[in-house]
Symmetry: C2
Subunit: 344 residues, 2 copies
């Protein structure tokens, strides 16, 4: 009588099915070299007994590891939790397991986490979140990750273009452009940008889009105030204080992500500055609460959940000769936080 659940071995199944260990292994992993008839019987028996392969043994013996490593900046940031949700969803459908870890937006810590995933021999790594503008910092991660791919690991990144790996690329620049155009179209001429730290490529890319929109409409981007603070809600608050103090003629604020936009709104509320009648505010990402803020937030929608799925999907395909890149597309969602520029 075989032991229950865990402790049930492939050889138990094999014996019960009256075949050898080798045949049972082949039957269950769908290898050929086994007649359909025998294979069916083995599968049947395995099902009946509730057999589940020991992944450690399987991986050790040379099979592929069926777990995917996911690195996010912070899972309790809505942007990343939605991406993680997408990855986990698809992983579940493929019965893969997801190992998740935080990078905390700290390149050194991120590198450590990636090393640890590699040491754990995960077969797939997905790195989500902005890259770093500093080429030196980025090159370290690159060499580790390239080594990983060379050893047969599959890698996909979300939102980093500097790596030569399969990538899902959010429409950062185009989105920034769309935000700029939207505000300019509403008559705004004094626009300030609440940006995260310039060390993040996400920030510089979105920024570039905004600047391009300005130029396209004959405005000078260099004249536009750009506040670099932390890429989180609190950064938005800090930057807003500065804008109100140093650039009082501003009629519109572009926050480079929704978290910062929330900080902006909160700060404006404290100062009793009406949005959008006196000040328009836009964000970026369209996290799920953006519609529930008051006023609801005009922003750029990025399909975060899909981005997670896409990244895993890319990683599940065999490596291509050239890295694949998938653009996400974007959509300007106009809500109540933007309106015509106030007369000066």
């Amino acid at each position: 009588m075989p032991k229950p659940g865990p402790g049930l071995r492939l050889i138990d199944v094999a014996q019960r099915a009256g075949v050898s260990l080798a045949t049972a292994s082949r039957a269950l992993s769908g290898r050929d070299g086994v007649s359909e008839e025998v294979a069916d019987r083995v599968r049947q028996v395995s099902l009946e007994m509730g057999y589940v392969a020991n992944p450690y043994a399987r991986t050790l013996a040379g099979g592929a590891s069926s777990t995917v490593g996911l690195v996010v900046h912070q899972v309790d940031d809505p942007y990343f939790s939605e991406i993680a949700g997408g990855v986990i969803q698809l992983a579940g459908e493929q019965s893969l397991l997801v190992q998740i870890c935080h990078s905390g937006r700290d390149p050194a810590h991120e590198l450590r986490q990636i090393r640890s995933l590699i040491a754990q021999r995960v077969g797939i790594i997905i790195v989500a979140g902005s890259g770093y503008s500093d080429p030196q910092v980025e090159s370290q991660s690159r060499s580790v990750l390239e080594g990983y791919e060379r050893d047969g690991g599959r890698l996909a990144v979300i939102g980093r273009h500097s790596l030569s790996a399969d990538a899902v690329l959010p429409d950062n620049e185009a989105g920034g452009f769309a935000l700029g155009e939207h505000l300019i179209g509403l008559g705004h001429r004094h626009i300030a940008v609440v940006a995260g730290t310039a060390a993040l490529t996400t920030v510089t890319d979105r920024m570039a889009g905004v600047a391009a929109a300005m130029r396209a409409h004959g405005l000078d981007p260099a004249a536009m105030p750009v506040l670099h603070t932390d890429f989180i809600r609190e950064g938005g608050r800090v930057a807003t204080e500065q804008i109100l103090r140093d650039h009082p003629s501003t009629t519109a604020i572009i926050a480079l992500n929704d978290a910062m936009a929330m900080g902006v709104l909160s700060s404006l509320r404290e100062h009793h500055i009406p949005v959008p009648s006196r000040m328009s505010v836009v964000g970026f990402d369209d996290v799920s609460v953006a519609a529930d803020l008051a006023p609801s937030l005009t922003t750029i929608r990025l399909p975060m959940t899909d981005m997670g799925r896409m990244a895993l999907d890319l990683a599940l395909k065999p490596r291509a000769a050239r890295p694949r890149r998938r653009r996400t597309g974007h959509q300007l969602i106009v809500r109540d936080s933007t309106g015509p520029a106030a007369a000066l």
Copy 2:
């Protein structure tokens, strides 16, 4: 010349250190039976060579698996993403890896995920999220999880009391009571409850607290409208429509979590019903955006991130004779969504 990074084996380290495989293993895993001197040398060499043990081989050979399995209903729900954040944080500090999966609030699916984690031989399992009121459903998970603990696995749950495992228990009933008292204290007598599905113990517990508050103040809980819809934002919207239609004298709505409260607010906004002057609204959890809604939401704060940390912390301690229970405490956070009852 040993191969680099992955591919480096313990035996390579052993040879270089001039000891046997067995000794090297003991030295690195801190077993005794090795002289300090030799152990030090082995550790030194291993560090120099950048050796990292193959976890698959290690686990297969009988060592403990150093990964923790985390089951949440849905990681892109702020409640769970904050809990997950806490778990991942502490796991990172202990250099454990976290395998995460979704239960999707579906007991059958949850069971499948747990089974899969067990099959993966994770050493620790943390199940976050409400239990199910149906004893039949719950008993299945119970027997699987008890089997897991019997086989030496460590288990901790968040928000389930029916399991005899170490548990972190949110103050659901006391929180519900506090919400009830707060509204009654503001003069509200026509209070409706927007509850999630009654199949969740979180819902029934919070509900019980609310009812107790009513009774404590001489009100009849049975007279109070309770709407059972999905335990998410959309459920809040649906329930609000019903309240407005069927219970027009209502002056306050208790939503049993913040997501539902957001749905309630959104629905009230559409109907141009001012909050809190005509209708007070409260939520539960204090997810991070609760303060940024308009009006900002009065709610019960639960220390979600800490709950995640606590759960893992419990699981890291050896199993106690009796299951440990840690209450979370709670805090009523009064914001702008509640005010005195409108005169009828």
